[in-house]
């Protein structure tokens, strides 16, 4: 397994090997699915959206619908305007979405299609919407694409009427529907009226009903996106994912924002709860406080299994930071924190976390890849890997347990229904981590050391 990966790390300047990111459009597509009645549309060659739908489907194991401008060579030379026009007409005719959310591709970006102009010129049926964002694949990553799509919705739709709706605008970050359900639970518990954009619950974690709905119940309502302009405040979860969108809403409609890390682990969830408490008049209700107490109880209980254990965490920047924060709270050492997404903020935020816990000797890298991560591990092994599916070859090559968290996870089921955020999500993380380490001990210890009590 991965037999050709040398231990010696050479400085690569051009070759990306085993990436820890993918391209913008898939993130934009995911974000657009979180709007009710929305058909995401890929402005480019049809292969892009085929790949993106495949990937999202494999992560969520639920239908993922999106259309394409189906560029041919001609369109690539002469511009994709006519393709887009045909596409939107066909889409409204046949699928009747409320809104089409167009994202670009490296193809249409390279030829320079002006989406603003194209959409302005388009005849859009009464009461329907076409919005867009630019997602050139050669910049950022799928996370950037997610951000750009959210920003796109805001730029097109959010409107300030001047009358506050007394709501919070919640930006969830690039998380699973299971996480978004957990947010809603916490906001409802704190009696904070809110609009969350996007909201993929009910879309990508839908029930089996015997009847497929192209536009299922879930997703942020268009009117709610419009109403974002009247929100009192934005809580932007996941600084690298959500802050730019919050900025856009601030710029457009003067909604102030608070940027928070993803509420993963105790302190980040506490921060989130305090932000909610600052907004509402409400005390944190007893059942949430009880959940928190249960979590802390578990953390103290399992600390002999987690303390001092070295973990390599890879994936999306906010997710990696969130997991690393919780790992530190468990007394673990996040030896390697790596994201494929570029951006210095990741590294400074990661280092700040390490400093806060006084942990030294760890590497934090943005714009990295799994080949490098594997080389690091070959040079100094870790006890645990946390990340998406693509780490499994490293896990097998080095005989390290892998806990699957983040995106994409295309070799397991059910995970996307289960939160990692909030106190409940941290309980899940704690159990997954403790079980992985304890299972490893049970399977790797000598027979005479197999323990009945642990």
């Amino acid at each position: 397994m991965l037999n050709y990966t040398p231990k010696e790390i050479c400085d690569r300047k051009a070759l990306r090997i085993n990436p820890a990111k993918t391209c913008q459009p898939v993130g934009a597509l995911y974000a657009a699915l979180g709007v009710h009645g929305c058909l995401p549309h890929s402005h480019g060659s049809q292969g892009c959206v085929a790949f993106h739908r495949m990937y999202l489907t494999r992560h969520f194991k639920d239908p993922v619908m999106a259309s394409s401008s189906s560029f041919t060579e001609g369109a690539s030379v002469f511009g994709g305007g006519s393709n887009l026009k045909t596409a939107t007409k066909n889409i409204f005719d046949l699928y009747d979405p409320e809104i089409i959310a167009v994202h670009t591709t490296c193809l249409s970006e390279t030829i320079g299609d002006d989406l603003n102009a194209l959409i302005t010129d388009m005849s859009i049926p009464e009461g329907k919407y076409v919005v867009h964002c630019n997602t050139p694949s050669y910049k950022g990553s799928h996370v950037t694409g997610f951000t750009n799509m959210v920003t796109g919705f805001i730029n097109y739709l959010a409107t300030k009427t001047g009358t506050s709706n007394e709501k919070v605008c919640l930006m969830p970050g690039f998380v699973n529907p299971g996480d978004m359900r957990e947010y809603k639970k916490l906001l409802n518990a704190m009696k904070v009226p809110f609009i969350m954009l996007p909201d993929t619950t009910g879309v990508l974690d839908g029930p089996m009903t015997g009847k497929y709905e192209m536009f299922p119940k879930g997703g942020t309502l268009i009117n709610d996106i419009k109403a974002l302009g009247d929100c009192k405040e934005t809580i932007a979860l996941g600084v690298q994912t959500s802050e730019a969108s919050a900025e856009a809403l601030k710029k457009k409609c003067s909604v102030p924002f608070k940027s928070l890390p993803l509420p993963m682990g105790v302190e980040a969830t506490d921060e989130f709860m305090l932000a909610l408490q600052a907004f509402s008049k409400e005390d944190v209700p007893a059942n949430i406080e009880e959940e928190r107490g249960q979590l802390v109880d578990m953390m103290i209980d399992i600390h002999p299994y987690t303390y001092g254990k070295k973990v390599a965490i890879y994936g999306d920047p906010d997710t990696v930071l969130g997991i690393a924060a919780f790992a530190l709270e468990l007394g673990m050492i996040p030896k390697y924190m790596l994201t494929g997404t570029p951006g210095n903020q990741f590294e400074s935020a990661g280092k700040a976390l390490l400093d806060k816990f006084g942990v030294e000797g760890c590497s934090v890298k943005a714009d990295g890849d799994l080949f490098l991560l594997h080389q690091w591990i070959k040079n100094e092994k870790v006890d645990l890997l946390i990340g998406g599916t693509h780490g499994k070859t490293i896990a097998r090559a080095e005989d390290i347990p892998l806990v699957r968290m983040g995106f994409p996870i295309i070799d397991r089921y059910i995970h996307s229904y289960m939160p990692l955020v909030g106190y409940k999500g941290a309980m899940r993380m704690a159990e997954l981590i403790a079980n992985a380490l304890m299972d490893y001990q049970d399977s790797h210890c000598e027979e005479k050391d197999l323990e009945v009590v642990m």
């Binding site: 292969g47 495949m54 005719d93």
Partner: protein
């Protein structure tokens, strides 16, 4: 009648779309002409399942070549999506002292950034090649371009030449930008062209036996190719190379020395088969190792081709033995499957092949379609002269080859070929999907999401064989869908044993108890039964 159903579905389209799609959707027989429009552009906005040229070239044909370092030149996405997702299995091995490494766990990309787009990416590509050679020392470097590369004018072919000059490492470039052609098919063609130009014919290792073959269009999904190789070896037939599942540059370069080409997936590889016939005189035989009857016939056809009685006897023995080993299970699965019906929408040849396997179990096909086929895949190669190239297909290079002065040789005389034909063995020919299909079956070329939903609603098959993008749509409607691209992570399905695995999986899917729980019991009974409580 099928034609009515067809009409009922298509009439929901706008006139323009209707006009286009009616040529792609036909009902077999019922007085309809068995002719179809295929390999034309998908309609923008109509949700197609098709992929792109890059997917056909890198994803399908080149991806499985295990000892090649395939660098995807472009932004990261295209490389990422084709990384480990297609289940074309392989492992590093040694053959006659020559190793073939296996790089399939690796994904190589130039991860182009904005400056590369603006200022050109050749420099980065060269650096990436330098690094891949430095770290991996691969036998061969393949370069695949993605959409922006063609637009910005990076000359990847020049970079390939530079690579060979600079490092002495074989390098081939594939201009398989996603926007080329109308589907994966363009990519197959582009890949095929370069294989014949730069790889086939460059080796000189002679087969060890009289009866040697190349296995063309076998991608070893779920281990299919390994199972076919096992069968061939049992029969005493030598496999020189596999295009390309589990295959290697090491073996492909010697493929021109084999005695016969076997073509499993006609669509993706027929160019190579044709060009090898023209250049090296090697006949090709359309085989199908999916299905019990089909596998037996394919083996027998090979025996007939070589005409050796001992070989033929051994083939009969193997067939008898393989079938004896599966009879009990076959009977069991047949008893669970007989009378069921299926719809199939897969890639280039599977929608045809799997109908035959389904027939082995008594399952009827009510709808079938290809994602990226040409008319010959439907109607048989006899229609090729009638196919008019359109603008999109004209853009894909079609190369002519001459008989190779050194290697061209002919195994069978024209007379022998005619005798074979009399025995039902048609060389260098594919009959297409239509001929074997039942009256009234619906054929859908480039079946799209709308038609999928509508046809499944009216045809009500027990199972829809398709891909991951359709799967959960279908299953949300309470109907089993199994992926025939990836075998839903099972397999092999090829050969006799594979048929049983397929039967098992289908029975599992149809009979898994969970289907019976879709409706909650309170949805079946009057919902208000209570007598008290609950006003709180």
């Amino acid at each position: 009648m099928a034609s009515d159903l067809r009409e009922k579905v298509l009439e929901k389209y706008s006139a323009r779309v209707y006009k286009n799609r009616k040529e792609h959707v036909i009902a077999i027989g019922e007085g309809n002409p068995d002719t179809i429009t295929a390999n034309t552009r998908a309609i923008p906005g109509i949700i197609t399942q098709r992929g792109c040229c890059y997917a056909g070239c890198k994803g399908v044909v080149l991806g499985p070549i295990k000892d090649a370092a395939i660098i995807v030149h472009g932004p990261i996405g295209c490389a990422f999506y084709a990384w480990g997702t297609r289940r074309h299995k392989a492992f590093a091995d040694e053959k006659d002292g020559e190793k073939a490494d296996c790089y399939l766990e690796y994904c190589f990309s130039t991860d182009m950034q904005e400056p590369d787009i603006v200022f050109g990416g050749e420099k980065k590509l060269k650096q990436a090649i330098t690094e891949v050679i430095d770290i991996f020392h691969p036998a061969i470097v393949l370069i695949c371009s993605t959409c922006p590369v063609g637009l910005i004018g990076d000359d990847i072919h020049a970079v390939a030449k530079w690579t060979e000059a600079e490092f002495g490492t074989k390098a081939i470039a594939f201009s398989c930008e996603g926007y080329k052609g109308v589907s994966q098919s363009a990519g197959h063609h582009i890949a095929n062209n370069q294989l014949i130009r730069y790889i086939i014919g460059t080796g000189d290792k002679e087969p060890k036996t009289q009866y040697s073959v190349n296995l063309l269009g076998e991608y070893n999904i779920g281990g299919d190719g390994w199972e076919v190789e096992r069968l061939l070896k049992r029969c005493g037939i030598e496999v020189v190379s596999v295009f390309t599942g589990g295959g290697s540059y090491r073996d492909l370069k010697n493929s021109h020395l084999a005695h016969l080409n076997l073509v499993q997936c006609h669509r993706s590889i027929n160019y190579v088969a044709e060009m090898m016939q023209d250049k090296y005189g090697i006949d090709w035989l359309k085989v199908n190792f999916v299905g019990i009857e089909s596998s037996a016939k394919s083996l027998r056809d090979i025996g007939e081709y070589f005409g050796d009685e001992e070989l033929k006897a051994r083939i009969e023995e193997v067939i008898a033995d393989e079938i004896a080993a599966i009879t009990d299970e076959l009977d069991y699965y047949k008893s669970k499957l007989k009378g069921k019906s299926a719809a199939l929408y897969v890639g280039g040849s599977r929608s045809h092949h799997y109908q035959l396997l389904l027939k082995d179990f008594g399952v009827r096909t009510v709808l079938a379609g290809y994602e990226f086929a040409h008319r010959d895949d439907y109607e048989g190669r006899e229609v090729i002269p009638d196919i008019k190239p359109d603008a999109d297909s004209k853009n894909i290079e079609s190369i002519e080859v001459e008989p190779d002065p050194k290697y061209y040789k002919v195994l069978l005389t024209q007379e022998q070929k005619e005798k074979l034909l009399e025995k039902g063995v048609a060389l260098n020919y594919y009959e297409g999907m239509f001929k074997g299909m039942e009256e009234g079956a619906i054929i859908t070329d480039d079946l799209n999401h709308f038609e999928t939903e509508e046809f499944l609603k009216v045809l009500k098959p027990d199972v829809f064989f398709s891909g991951i993008k359709d799967k959960f749509v279908t299953q949300k409607n309470g109907m089993l869908s199994r992926q025939l691209h990836s075998y839903d992570y099972s397999g092999p399905y090829a050969g006799f044993r594979g048929a049983i695995t397929f039967g098992h999986d289908l029975v599992m899917g149809l009979y898994t108890p969970a289907w019976s729980y879709i409706r909650a019991p309170w949805q079946k009974v009057p919902s208000i039964q209570g007598t008290l409580g609950g006003e709180a």
